[in-house]
Amino acid sequence: MRAKTLVFSVAGAAVVIGVVALGVVGWMVLQPGPYGFAGGDPVALADYKGASPTGLPVELASADPATTREYIARMGDCEACHTAKGGQPFAGGRPFVLPFGTIYTPNITPDPETGIGTWTDAQFLDAVHRGIAPDGSRYYPAFPYPSYTLMTDEDVLAIKAHLFALKPVRQENKPNTFAFPFNQRWLMAIWATLFNPDERFRPVPEQSPEWNRGAYLVEATGHCGECHTPRNLMQALDQRRKFGGGVAEGWSAYNISADKVSGVGDWSAEQLAAYLAAGHAKGRGAASGPMGEAVELSLSHLTPSDIAAIVTYLRSVPPVAGDLPALAGAAPATPVLASLDNPVGQRVFQGNCASCHDWTGAGAVRSEAQLTGVRGVNDPSGTNVALMVLHGSGPTWPGHPYMPGFGHAYSNAEVAAVANYVTARFGAAPSGLTAADIARLREME
């Protein structure tokens, strides 16, 4: 009797769990599309009456083929991920440290043996739209094909043409270090079935042409959500919390929804445009880490009309509330504060940081160096501040100020101390990073 009850109970529980699991997965799968928030009735590109949201911007309407190919490749920002630190552009080898192991990006130069030199157009489209390699194996969604799938065939093949015009680099791909079960690539076929719609961009006639161009640049080529949208349990983007903030290589990719506290809702259009195009908006800080690379390698190459389109689209994304505090105001000018008992942080700051950032955090001589009012400094985790201390920030191209990285010469305890000092002095709440946290952050690189 008791045993029978138990059997029924187990069976019942299994059914309940199964139903709940199906419900949960269904909830994840049956979510709105990336720009579903905009409503309207999206139509096929061929049926769209406005200016084409795909391909080149108006400024480059008469560009030569080489410029066209390069521009579209810049839109897709392939270079950042497919280039190792100090390595040859597009030759791959950059590590991405994920919870399941480390994945290395492959060589996408046209080298026939180690790169993609033998790929056909169909194979390239399969890879970029569907995450399927020429040998039929599946890519992990660290490769953002669920975003790239929105790109037109024409644009994908323009990228291919750009890659095939590069100098071939002979560099073997590095194997990933995923353990079981994550090393079972066939599982990715199921994942793709659930989470990759495998359909091209469908413009929304109810929205402006500029908005549609922005949607294409943000959702298809720029794949912004891959970092800035949180992921669900199945590692798919959670479009219900679109642009509510995510993680990229250890860096916090902050909320870029229209939320006024956590997001960019109170940024002006000019600030957004400046940040995207130049990596810095006065009073908003400088793009660092992966965002710095996105600016350097992709966004800074886009035309003003494209930057404006991105801004238009971003400002339409509904606010997603976050848990970050409101930005703190001005900081005191007095160097030594009785209220801030962090002698190691004070020492590192006064020697290495104050010359540029100033004791007020307003920037001693350059607005790029402003610390107050910057999201990362007002993040009580201190993660991005610590990563900036470790690796530096800002572009290294001519004429632009940049911050050097101090990770090589300063200990974990010193980096933690100065990050905690900066968040305490200039931010909304002090961080409590430890030397062990810094050791962990170092391993993300």
């Binding site: 100090g86 190691v344 020492r347 191209w397 001519p398 050097p404 974990n412 010193e414």
Partner: protein
């Protein structure tokens, strides 16, 4: 780059030249030349007035010009050399002007090196006597001129403050008025030097002659040279050691505002512009592909492994007393190894050189420790006769050994040869570090036998590159680099048997002299090893050393003085910088000086080390200027603290990994301990003091860390993670 380090010497430098004349010591190196005090040649450019010898030029009015054989790079050489000349010349430091010596090896060659070089803490050792003699000789000529003028016996005349006086008649004549006549007086072969009891300058803390201009920004360093029509260049050499330029696209550089020209040489590129910033922007825009060359595979782990393997020996015997190896076959034995990393010099004045190549001539404006090398090097680089190369030396914004190389003058000359008009080439800090001629790696192995609380057998094997073999080839004799083993040979301790060996181990990484030179490794290793033995035998480190110093009273005296001043035997005081505190000691004899140091450290749980107090006692022989001696010890110790706490250059992929002060870390004022210096009075021959402060503080700090944590610093610098793990 590598080729710019090759032979700087003219035909004059031969082993015979080195062996000519008297003898002096540089790290066990016995060389010397004849006293270079003589009349100037008639063909040399002279202003009005008379050169009385190579070092003294008396104009008819105004200040007496004293020609400085050693250059001023912060160490106070112009003041101390002027003091030696002025003392004997009976003139005030306010009545002289210091003049940079031109390249002229016969006149200004360092008596210890033959070549005209400032380094190795040799200025006072090498030049005190020659300059005093030059001053005394010139004074005698001036007195003789006055005596002839007045028709009196020169012995009745006196001199003071640049005047010759006849006490009998009350007549006086200024030196300037006597100069022309004095120049016709044959210099005496022998002159009597002042009795030290009569010194008015030597031994006093006279104010420096170079600092008033420095305090107001008037001093012209090499980097401050301005020539009419001058352009400005920024350069980049192959980031990989030995690499070459494969391809250059100069269009983006030429498009930058202010950029005039792109110079492409086989191993470097330079951008010439209207100002340095414009040149740097042009350089950043320049597209350069490099061919990495044969050394692209060099990496630090392999370099460490290679030198460790080489250190297994055997080596060339540098000193042998008794039968140490036999004695090390039994009894209580100790053994340890110590490793020192590559280091960069990073003088605050980045490398720079201004050159004008025209009409078969090459004019150079530079701050250099080796004017002759610059002259010879540029001549060779341009394929012209050295007589066509002029070198205008300048006050140096930090040398530390980097400016003992002429590579940067040669590079600037190669660039200037392609530029119409004068060009100032300024290295960025990044290039200054990435193209540095590094302090070599060292691996020191030590073995000792201890009986009754004393070391009875001592075996010290030094493995490292030979700088001398490249820099001064005739000085590298019988497989021994006297600099590399300096501080290991002639230890102050009375060990019964001693074997010091040297193993020359070269890598493709260019290496050169660096403040503290050879004794940095030898003294660090020996003094760390002594503390290891003391700890393992349960003896106090100071008592242990005292027990072996009965034959070197000067060493014992500095050890006792430092221990007393630091109150050795009391615990290091508690510190807010860390819960663990420790006190360490070290002793050295090198550069003709004896020093002892006691250092206190505090260590945080994170393993971060702070040096909280440094006490140094020094016997440097007869002191020319005690305040400069103290300043050199303070500065040297600061340099050494940076070294032990923070610095290492590492090589990956054939490239130096560090690039600027964010990753090559110099100590800052807020990390500084108090540094207390005690000078032991001495009438012994003057020793050197530029380097010893750097040398002595490193083992003292390491031994303090050892005392606090039980962790020996076996590879420099401090690794906080390793200390944190151990405690």
């Amino acid at each position: 780059m590598l080729r710019d380090l090759e032979d700087n010497h003219g035909p004059a430098l031969s082993r015979r030249a080195l062996l000519r004349g008297g003898a002096a010591v540089l790290g066990g190196l016995m060389i010397g030349i004849e006293l270079p005090v003589r009349r100037a040649r008639a063909d040399e450019p002279a202003s009005t007035g008379a050169p009385l010898n190579a070092f003294v030029h008396v104009p008819p009015e105004g200040r007496v010009e004293l020609i400085m054989p050693s250059v001023e790079m912060g160490q106070g050489a112009y003041t101390s050399q002027a003091m030696c000349l002025a003392e004997e010349l009976d003139i005030g430091l306010d009545q002289i002007i210091a003049i940079h010596a031109p390249p002229d090896q016969p006149k200004y060659g360092n008596p210890l090196f033959v070549v005209q070089a400032t380094g190795g803490s040799t200025t006072t050792m090498a030049w005190t006597e020659p300059l005093r003699k030059a001053g005394a000789t010139a004074r005698a000529m001036l007195v003789a001129a006055a005596a002839a003028e007045w028709g009196v016996d020169p012995a009745t005349l006196t001199t003071e403050k640049g005047m010759v006086s006849d006490p009998g008649s009350g007549r006086t004549l200024a030196y300037g008025a006597l100069a022309d006549r004095a120049a016709t007086v044959p210099p005496a072969a022998e002159v009597t030097l002042k009795d030290p009891a009569q010194f008015r300058l030597i031994g006093t803390p006279a104010h420096r002659i170079d600092t008033p201009d420095k305090a107001v920004g008037k001093t012209v360093y090499g980097i401050d040279v301005i020539r009419p029509g001058m352009k400005f260049a920024a350069l980049m050499a192959s980031p990989v050691i030995g690499g070459t330029v494969a391809r250059v696209d100069d269009a983006p550089a030429l498009a930058q505002p202010g950029v005039r020209q792109v110079v492409v040489l086989d191993d470097l590129v330079a951008v010439v512009a209207d100002n340095t910033w414009a040149a740097q922007q042009g350089l950043a825009a320049l597209v350069v592909d490099w061919t990495a060359g044969p050394h692209a595979g060099l990496d630090q782990a392999q370099l460490w492994a290679d030198i460790e393997k080489a250190s297994q020996g055997p080596g060339v015997v540098a000193q042998k007393e008794g039968e140490a190896l036999a004695a090390l076959n039994g009894g209580t034995l100790f053994e340890a190894s110590y490793e020192l990393p590559f280091l960069a010099h990073t003088p605050m004045e980045p490398l720079n050189c201004t050159v004008h190549v025209h009409d078969g001539q090459c004019e150079i404006w530079v701050g250099t420790q080796v004017p002759g090398f610059c002259q010879m090097g540029a001549a060779k680089a341009l394929g012209i006769d050295p007589s066509k190369v002029s070198v205008n030396n300048h006050i140096i914004g930090g040398g530390f050994g980097r400016r003992l190389e002429a590579d940067y003058a040669k590079i600037a000359a190669r660039i200037a040869a392609k530029v119409d008009g004068p060009v100032k080439v300024t290295w960025s800090r990044e290039e200054d570090i990435k193209q540095d001629i590094l302090r070599p790696l060292y691996h020191d192995r030590l073995k000792a036998r201890v009986e009754n609380g004393k070391v009875t057998a001592w075996h010290h094997r030094v493995t490292g590159a030979s700088i001398l073999a490249r820099w001064l080839p005739p000085a590298f004799k019988n497989g021994i680099d006297g600099d590399a083993v300096d501080g290991a040979v002639d230890s102050p301790y009375g060990f019964d048997s001693v074997l010091v060996e040297y193993i020359r181990h070269e890598s493709p990484v260019p290496v050169g002299f660096w403040r503290g030179v050879g004794p940095n490794s030898s003294v660090f290793s020996a003094e760390s090893f002594l503390d290891l033995i003391a700890k393992q035998t349960g003896v106090d480190p100071v008592d242990f050393r005292r027990g072996m110093l009965d034959k070197t009273p000067r060493a014992l005296a500095v050890l006792n003085a430092a221990a007393a001043k630091a109150r050795w035997g009391t615990p290091a005081p508690a510190s807010p910088s860390g819960a663990r505190v420790g006190r360490g000691v070290a002793l050295m004899h090198a550069f003709g000086s004896f020093l002892a140091c006691v250092a206190d450290v505090a260590i945080a749980d994170s393993g971060d080390v702070r040096v909280t107090r440094v006490v140094i006692a020094a016997d440097v022989g007869r002191v020319i200027n005690p305040d400069i001696v103290v300043a050199q010890i303070q500065g040297g110790a600061t340099f050494g603290i940076t070294t032990v706490l923070h610095d290492a250059i590492t090589i990956e992929g054939g490239s130096i990994q560090q690039s600027n002060f964010h990753d090559y870390r110099l100590i800052r004022i807020d990390e500084m301990p108090a540094i207390e210096v005690e000078i032991i009075g001495s009438t012994e021959k003057p020793g050197g003091i530029g380097e010893p402060g750097t040398v002595i503080v490193q083992p003292a700090v390491a031994n303090a860390i050892f005392a606090a944590t039980g962790v020996q610093l076996t590879r420099m610098p401090v690794d906080p993670a390793r200390i944190a793990k151990a405690v």
